[in-house]
Symmetry: C2
Subunit: 351 residues, 2 copies
Amino acid sequence: MKALIAVLPGDGIGPEVVEQGTRLLKAVAERFSHSFELVEAPMGGAAIDLTGSPLPPETLALCQRADAVLLGAVGGPKWDPPAKVRPEQGLLALRKELGLFANLRPVTPVPSLYDTSTLKPEVLRGVDLLVVRELTGGIYFGEKRREEDRAFDACVYTVDEVVRVVRAAASLARARRKRLTSVDKANVLETSRLWRSVTERIVREEFPDIELKHMLVDACAMHLIKRPADFDVIVTENMFGDILTDEAAMLSGSIGMLPSASLGANRRGLYEPIHGSAPDIAGRGVANPYGTLLSVAMLLRHSLGLEQEARAVEAAVASSLDAGVLTADLSAPSTRPAGTREVGRSVINRL
Amino acid sequence: MKALIAVLPGDGIGPEVVEQGTRLLKAVAERFSHSFELVEAPMGGAAIDLTGSPLPPETLALCQRADAVLLGAVGGPKWDPPAKVRPEQGLLALRKELGLFANLRPVTPVPSLYDTSTLKPEVLRGVDLLVVRELTGGIYFGEKRREEDRAFDACVYTVDEVVRVVRAAASLARARRKRLTSVDKANVLETSRLWRSVTERIVREEFPDIELKHMLVDACAMHLIKRPADFDVIVTENMFGDILTDEAAMLSGSIGMLPSASLGANRRGLYEPIHGSAPDIAGRGVANPYGTLLSVAMLLRHSLGLEQEARAVEAAVASSLDAGVLTADLSAPSTRPAGTREVGRSVINRL
Ligand SMILES: CC(C)[C@H](C(=O)O)[C@@H](O)C(=O)O
Ligand SMILES: CC(C)[C@H](C(=O)O)[C@@H](O)C(=O)O
């Protein structure tokens, strides 16, 4: 098949990990006889430095034309508040403009990395969870105001916004273990009470085969550490999802392992590792690219419909991990860690 | 000394654990020759059933008159949304009415419970952290609205609200390891940017001896699991504090272990275990009262200024844990767990 893929390296370690992602995409194209056109564009802090805007119109136009977007990471101390124009604004605008309301963050710790996690192996056994985070609503996109001596952020959710992300999550649960945990703070927030009642109705009416449970966000933050294997699919609002997925990332040993997909009403999606720009280790060739490589697998699956290719990538990653090809964040202090390029090469060779 | 202590058993396991707390208070009074007047009042769901209100005026008046308040827990399925009058409203109103803006939640895992935690012992070694959660502002108390097809919650912070809780946290850090981590989401929220700049200024001007670090809430959710021993004092806004403290509770093996103090401008404080009402195990005499007993220690220290007595309670708790007097949430499946009363007796005997 032919596909146009927008490649946004971004900031910090973004360019390094994305380089391995594009090499992998090219290898998949060759191996499975596809034709992927990869077009790079500036985004985030890099784009601010170049054009003054974290999401230049050309970059947005490219993404809108593309079948999928592969992103590295954005942000860094150089553009931190109090700077008025910031890299994250580009990412938030991109999510919004592309209508990417469902952010999928799977967490499936692999046995060969159990040692790397700070959790006990018996807790990690059987963990296979997927967080579906609402991505274009809530307090991220509500009105913001600053007055002399106070600040204000509005958290808003509409019924439609809840409906579509709950539908996405429930459909995903249907193809898995059929259990959905909806996370909110209904004992305090009005938006959470709306969230809970809409979720209740949609699952009852459209997904009677799915077992639905509601959980308060504080309880969920606890259960993710206590009994993570209990979860199948978790669906939650934007801010709670941001916090819970970084927490859940620790189950897999390193945040460097985790991929993500951001999906909307059509097939176009944005794929990015969840680790962020890690300015402290940028440019040294030591960043963990596994999260990006697994994001490529999600891209192949969700935007291009190439399930077989996605599995081949996932198998190559698993085999590379089993072989002990581990970056510094994953390896014991006594062993020689693999570099970013070495991991890329290892996965491509195993494809 | 003489002191009036309001006792609010509340719902679920609240009455059972509070019973041990009041027994302990009486034992302390006897042993150290104090005169504590303990007065019980209804609160939460129990108060709704009795009076229609989760915080009856008589209960509030008692708390306002008291030197300290000991609370069990509130809430339960019986009064869950869509119920319009709910137990939590009583707790939120009590915090607000008493002006309890600083919620202290210490987490210090004890070696004899390392086995109980799902985290590896080497990660728990040296953990001694204190979360100071802002308790009367933010999205908890902002305007709430529900329209036909949308819901709205406002998150508001004023400079003064940030100043006072940061001052409280920095003062506490000064008596500890002098490190303060302020947690926000300044890359997205206007309230967080206010939070960050005010924190920066207060610490620079008034606490130059304190080392201040800012951390994003998602990164903090991660670091709490990855390197919890790095933290000394964490200060954060209401909702983030709610989530992060339940997560941090997992370091100590069981949420049943954790005490809390809610303080305001004067010495009066509210003391409660952070575990909640646990309706599933209520009335069976198996609930873990250690969090309540440790809350009594905080009460003695912060509201009554009885440091020696507080330490005696903490030492008795530590000795009881070392002796293996463990409730079901703490003990290995193979051993006979201690009941709620047995733990109370064990701690009092060791006083
Ligand atoms: C960079 C930031 C705005 C972003 C978010 O909070 O959504 C990031 O933390 C993420 O999770 O993708
Ligand atoms: C019961 C609920 C309103 C409360 C809160 O969210 O503050 C509880 O979770 C807590 O942490 O004390």
